[in-house]
Symmetry: C2
Subunit: 352 residues, 2 copies
Amino acid sequence: MNATQTVAVVMAGGRGTRFWPRSRNARPKQFLAIVGTETLLHQTVRRLDGHVPPERIYIVTTEDLAEETRRMLPELPPENVIVEPEGRNTAPCLALALVEIERRVPNGVMAVLSADHWIADRDLFLADLDLAVAHAAGHRELVTFGIRPAYPETGYGYIESEGEGPVLKVCAFREKPPTEVAIQYLASGRHYWNAGMFVWTLADLRAGLQQHAPEVLAPLDAWVQAGAQPGSLAAAYHLLPKVAIDVALLEKAATVAVVPARFRWSDVGSWPAAIEFQTADANGNVTQGDTLLLNTRDSAFFGGTRLIAAAGVEGLIVVDTPDALLLVKKDQAQSVKDIVERLRAEGRSDLL
Amino acid sequence: MNATQTVAVVMAGGRGTRFWPRSRNARPKQFLAIVGTETLLHQTVRRLDGHVPPERIYIVTTEDLAEETRRMLPELPPENVIVEPEGRNTAPCLALALVEIERRVPNGVMAVLSADHWIADRDLFLADLDLAVAHAAGHRELVTFGIRPAYPETGYGYIESEGEGPVLKVCAFREKPPTEVAIQYLASGRHYWNAGMFVWTLADLRAGLQQHAPEVLAPLDAWVQAGAQPGSLAAAYHLLPKVAIDVALLEKAATVAVVPARFRWSDVGSWPAAIEFQTADANGNVTQGDTLLLNTRDSAFFGGTRLIAAAGVEGLIVVDTPDALLLVKKDQAQSVKDIVERLRAEGRSDLL
């Protein structure tokens, strides 16, 4: 075997309406600078600086976002932005990445990352990444990252581990649990959030898919054998089942390892989550842009070029964009979804 | 005496920062559509439709607002917009109006109105105006309008009346009272708010100023006698004492009458006052522009072209303009002044 070459595959096809009005159809979460001053996509790529060279960073996204993704990341070769003909969940996405990359970096170890997650503690992240890469290449196992639960979240899948040390054995993947089960997971010390980040050799990904989910790989292999014509990818891709890589591969594989993350992580699922990871001022306010705050507490102001002046405001999230303004109480952030639904029902596609 | 010709003099030189960010130096309150869909200036002029012809409606304003005032009121002869060289309070303002108008409408009866007050019940207003004009012309008295107090306001002057009937005798003008006195005034049934609206013949205004405040009139008379050159008005005007007409004339005059207003009136002194006179929806919300409200109560949204979406908001005033957004709790509306002060202190004149 040649020297290990780490390849990063950043999944960047996400949609999501929870960051409306900043997020729109043409501007999903990964394109937004909602935590910090850089977009989550930029942060994801920059986090690899000096660790994975640009020519081995790949982004998988959908057709409508490809051009903007290339524009935002001029340091990447344009062909490293791999275009999914349509969104069909993560197993097809990664199978496509596999057939695109294995021809270029045959001995690569693939690190699967998300374009729209927040990660702090870059050095710890890179150290954990190295650990996972070494384990995947050395032990030829599929490796996941596990996030130590901070609270009994019921919206994530859990990874149940056994053993000790920096790399643990996965004994089960657990579906999103009801609250009482999530509380047990939290207490066990052996359960981790499944953050959807993985490391494996390209060869092991291929072998695993061939064994456990051949229907996700075969149409793409046939497409490659027929010359990998861009014009015929859509037809092949449309044959792939819409399935997550966790279900198609990881839950079925005999041996999966988990690296308990030492870095801080969030999937930044809502405006309150985006606030949580930012430094607040003495009054508990988080601000972006031009603000003038009097007697205002525990609020967040995502401003643009306009001044936002507030007096007597408490517990409010304010998001200012050129064509829409959002005001939402922190404890009612789930209403953002309802607002977007309402706009959709009213046919206001200019705002979506 | 010839037939009575009513002349309306609309004082429109007001500034005021309490409606920031809608109100700016170049866009004072009278230029704003904060109550209803028309500006307060337009409402003031339209209220006289069919009652005082446009050629007898005069607007007194300052130089920087004159052009915009003429543009907004194309139905008025441009020369009916009388330009104060500088703001020197209401006595000089009305003295200037006097010397400008008495040459054109020698037998006129002058109704002094404010450009930035809100008045409902137009028919009652016009009936009260007729009553005041008839009294001023027939009894040759100075006439004021009195607003029946709705609560013990300490920020207004009061008119103390005696007698009965639709026109009462004024026995005293009372300064802004402390609360306990305001409560007595409220209870007396004889005290009215001084709304700063007056009716008198031009001849009586001249006679009154000559007797009680000649220093307000003499420099202007000299200016007229010297040919009323526009270029030399500023120098004459600058000689006039800065004094209110109430102090210069009304408090000194032997006989003043008051017409208790049957119409509803407000000087619209703050954003909450502007809300008070608008029809709220079932949740107590007042809206202007494009809004989408979920679980939102007792709030006001003064929007522009952008959508304002709110969820879980309560008791908030939101004012949206192209370059500044205001969010202020209803019970802290006095903070708007502080915001403007802060902007001034920070030299942000683009926002003032």
